[in-house]
């Protein structure tokens, strides 16, 4: 199936399903750090997930994690554990929880919370160093979180 065809199919599916609306960052239900339900109801796209994970202005997960499965991505950081095999260590609900707000799984962790909009000290307007002009948006959108999770679940040992 081509990517385009797949998207069309997904769009059709989404249209067919009675409007499952996106879960807002402040409304996410965590159970022991896990999120069992999709944040959007639309299946994630692992290819888009890779883009999010390797783009500076988006997830930039490779700033801190080595992903051996993506050898072409230069300068992978070594602050967190390598993500290879991560799907054998955690199930999908755990992974979604870790990407959305890792602090609820790893207390005090250095890893940023990617789907969170409150509780910050002097949050800025993205990377401008200035105060925000409007309400904060999460670093990643709900669908981007789903895309990342869709890629992570492929990282089996």
């Amino acid at each position: 199936m081509t990517r385009q065809l797949m998207l069309v199919t997904l769009a059709a599916m989404a249209a067919a399903t009675p409007a499952i609306s996106e879960i807002a960052p402040t409304a996410v239900a965590y159970t022991e750090g896990k999120i069992s339900e999709s944040l959007t109801g639309t299946p994630g796209d692992p290819v888009a997930g890779v883009k999010v994970m390797t783009t500076n202005a988006l997830g930039n997960c490779v700033a801190c994690h080595v992903i051996g499965a993506l050898p072409d991505v230069p300068f992978q950081g070594n602050i967190g554990p390598a993500l290879d095999g991560v799907a054998s260590r955690y199930d999908e609900a755990q992974l979604r929880g870790i990407v959305a707000n890792s602090k609820l799984t790893f207390e005090g962790t250095f890893m940023p919370a990617f789907y969170k909009t409150d509780g910050f000290v002097r949050p800025g307007n993205a990377y401008t160093g200035k105060a925000p002009e409007s309400e904060l948006t999460p670093i990643l959108t709900a669908q981007q979180i789903e895309d990342v999770v869709a890629y992570l679940v492929t990282l089996k040992e």
Binding site: A63, C64, G80, G124
Partner: protein
């Protein structure tokens, strides 16, 4: 149950960290010997951590140890050090009769050598006013009050050229800022800023420069974030950077609203960060990327 999970996971993550860290977690083992006009001098770029840091680290290292070979070697010969151009500019400015009535820095202070030692002990609390003074604050007082000029921008060229010149006069001297007595409340405030996790990324100075120093965040080899090398010539900016300018960049990178240069917060932070480098040499003007 949740607590336990957090603990187990944290333990395995720490193990992973130790493993990945091993390969290149150490600052480069090298000595900073500089060829200058007055001969060669060797700087102290690593030493025992000052007393107040000993609970968190044994050894402090200049940021010089974390840079690539070519960046390190640029600082080993004044002829190759691009910052020296700015020191020379600072010297010209020092001698120029720029004051409203023709005053010059040299007219009152003689040669810039009269500033020897100052960089090693600032920021410090001024005995008369009780204010915390950076070198920039001293320069600003002379420019505006003694020369009748408009204030220079805190991070403008004139200020930074002068800073570079003054800092050079203390090259090789050991950083020794006071943290007790009248400095104590400023120091405590700076420490609080250092450990606060700012911004949407919720990171403190310590998150990067204490807990993860030596590791790589993308292509950046994390140093201890010392300022004994400041002002520095930053290759990326092709210009001189003051310590507080560097702080602005680091805070901005946490998706935070930064503090401004010369704000109470950044002045206190400069004192606190300087004190983490008590024992290292003032590098005069360093080279970083």
């Amino acid at each position: 149950m949740q607590k336990q999970m957090i603990k187990t996971l944290a333990a395995s993550a720490a193990f992973g960290l130790a493993l990945t860290g091993m390969a290149m977690s150490t600052p480069v083992d090298d000595k900073l010997v500089i060829e200058g006009e007055e001969g060669t001098i060797e700087l102290v770029t690593s030493t025992k951590a000052p007393e107040h840091l000993q609970e968190v680290m044994d050894t402090i290292y200049s940021g010089w140890h974390y840079r690539e070979d070519d960046t390190r070697s640029m600082q080993m010969d004044d002829f190759d050090n691009p910052a020296m151009v700015f020191v020379d500019r600072g010297r010209d400015l020092w001698n120029a009769a720029i004051g409203k009535n023709g005053e010059s820095c040299a007219g009152c202070h003689n040669g810039p050598e009269s500033m020897k030692g100052l960089r090693a002990v600032t920021p410090r609390v001024d005995a008369k006013t009780g204010k915390l003074m950076t070198i920039e604050n001293y320069v600003d007082a002379c420019v505006t009050e003694r020369m009748g000029l408009e204030a220079w921008g805190w991070t403008g060229d004139k200020m930074k050229d002068t800073l570079a010149l003054i800092s050079m006069q203390s090259r090789g001297e050991i950083v020794n800022v006071a943290i007790d007595g009248p400095a104590a409340p400023f120091w405590e405030k700076g420490k609080e800023v250092y450990y606060t996790r700012y911004g949407q990324l919720e990171m403190s100075c310590a998150s990067c420069h204490e807990e993860n120093q030596g590791l790589f965040i993308r292509s950046d080899h994390l140093s201890q974030g010392q300022i004994n090398g400041f002002p520095t010539y930053r290759l990326k900016d092709a210009g001189i950077l003051s310590a507080q300018q560097r702080f602005v960049g680091c805070v901005r990178d946490t998706r935070a609203e930064t503090f401004k240069p010369n704000s109470d917060e950044f002045k206190a932070l400069e004192l606190y960060v300087a004190s983490r480098g008590n024992g290292l040499s003032v590098e005069g003007v360093s080279v970083r990327h």
